[in-house]
Symmetry: C2
């Protein structure tokens, strides 16, 4: 596996945000990702928190707008932000809508042949960690996962389906029940076809029902003034299922007045990093 | 004077970033600005820190990328980010280069007739504060000023020429001697014509020489790996002139490894806000 190629780097809070490009086998195209290496990474291995972004985003939005590096630098956490889909395949229709195709990979492994390059589940959970092993300062086997909106869905599904890979899970305004909301239905039918049993593997509400441990902490922050709350992000079913599962310790916080933007993430990201640090530095 | 019109608002750190539009008399066009109202503004008047942005920016870059609201919310400071030039005049050539015309107002009052709408000095120091008086929570007469790059030039020049209006001054990677560097020479000859005495009014190194008090604190952070440092941002002359002036208390910090980006601003903005708070809350 060739080492990822450095595209650019910026010093921030004593650490470095570095952007890399590499040839992805899972997605059959070059993929870009960004990593924040905290200052502690200069001297020892540091745990990793993955951040999965939402629709239309790439690997840079979180690094530039969430203000997460300040607390990550204090805690000694690396932050890894992947892209949100393959790019450059020029599949017919891939750029026609903002909620499907490019920038909208939904962190699943597509089954419909036309979208066969959309293997973001495999990419994030298997390929990317292997790629990251080329950085000796990252403790790849000590990781947690978080995300926003579509990426919140990704964090919940990937986190709950791979408890050995991610020690804690958090999300901002996640899609928690994609099988019954329009973004998820469009994505699942387009990428996965019409088999509902396959859909369930990528539906956080279904996945949390089936989760059998070990005990997992989940933190969710949802803005009460989020324009997508009612139609897309209603988490009642997820919260009910999570509370019924003794292996899940869920904290679901409805944040009064906050919306779907990165301003909300910036406001609460320290709490998320604190949770992950607590799990990642546990002895 | 009609009240500015709210374009959008986002809750962040318990306060609000609000974007407004209004008809500017100084610039003869609609102008946009953003304000962060800290949570304290709900109950009392709060001091104001102006932030002047750099080339190509508008009023949103700082709000979205600097992460300044966290500390401003703790301190109880409002942040005001104006745009960097008039827009919409369609002056021939206004969008041909990134360092002149639209997005490049240089915080001066143009004298060349073709650019007569470029009255950013008047706009920032006189018109905008009057417009802001429509917000009863802002203590307009208790203000400080900061900026980045071209906006650092603006903060130094406006701050030093108006000590009654701004109680402290800070800058990231400021242009400190525009008369002898290419961006400044292009802007000054284009907007002001060839009279060097006029140029001196907008050259921080000249202005700091002439500054007669009262005592002013200035904080400057400059990244050592800033690509523009050598050709555009060399501050040797400014630092020498400032140190020779007993009314100026300058802290000039060369930050090892940091560049010209908002990552540098995010890293050090708390120090700047702390300095301004110290002056603004002095009794």
């Amino acid at each position: 596996m060739p080492a990822p190629e450095l595209q650019k780097e910026n010093k921030v809070f004593g650490g470095w945000v570095k952007r890399f490009k590499h040839e992805s086998t899972a997605c059959s195209c070059p993929m870009t990702f960004s990593v924040f290496f905290p200052p502690q990474a200069a001297g020892r291995k540091v745990p990793v928190v993955y951040y999965l972004a939402g629709l239309t985003c790439n690997d840079e939005n979180f690094m530039q707008k969430a203000g997460a590096q300040r607390r990550a630098a204090e805690l000694g956490l690396a932050l890894v932000a992947p892209d949100t889909s393959p790019r450059g395949h020029n599949v017919a229709g891939e750029a026609e809508s903002w909620d499907f195709g490019v920038g909208a990979g939904f962190y699943l492994n597509a089954k419909v042949d036309k979208w066969k390059a959309w293997q973001m589940y495999e990419y994030i959970t298997v390929e990317l960690p292997e790629v990251l092993r080329s950085f000796s300062s990252l403790d790849i086997d000590n990781a947690s996962i978080m995300g926003h909106s579509m990426g919140g869905h990704g964090a919940l599904v990937l986190g709950l389906r791979n408890p050995g890979k991610y020690k804690s899970i958090s999300a901002f305004a996640p899609i928690t029940h994609p099988m019954i909301e329009p973004w998820g239905q469009k994505a699942f039918s387009g990428y996965l076809g019409e088999d509902r049993e396959t859909w369930k593997q990528y539906d956080a509400t279904e996945v949390v029902k089936a989760f059998g441990g070990p005990e997992r902490k989940i933190l969710i922050d949802q803005g009460s003034k989020d324009d997508f709350l009612k139609e897309h992000l209603n988490a009642d079913d997820f919260v009910r299922a999570a509370k019924a599962n003794p292996c899940i310790k869920l904290s679901y916080r409805l944040q009064e007045g906050y919306d779907h933007s990165y301003y909300t993430i910036a406001t609460f990201v320290d709490d998320h990093l604190n949770l992950h640090a607590e799990e990642l530095f546990k002895r």
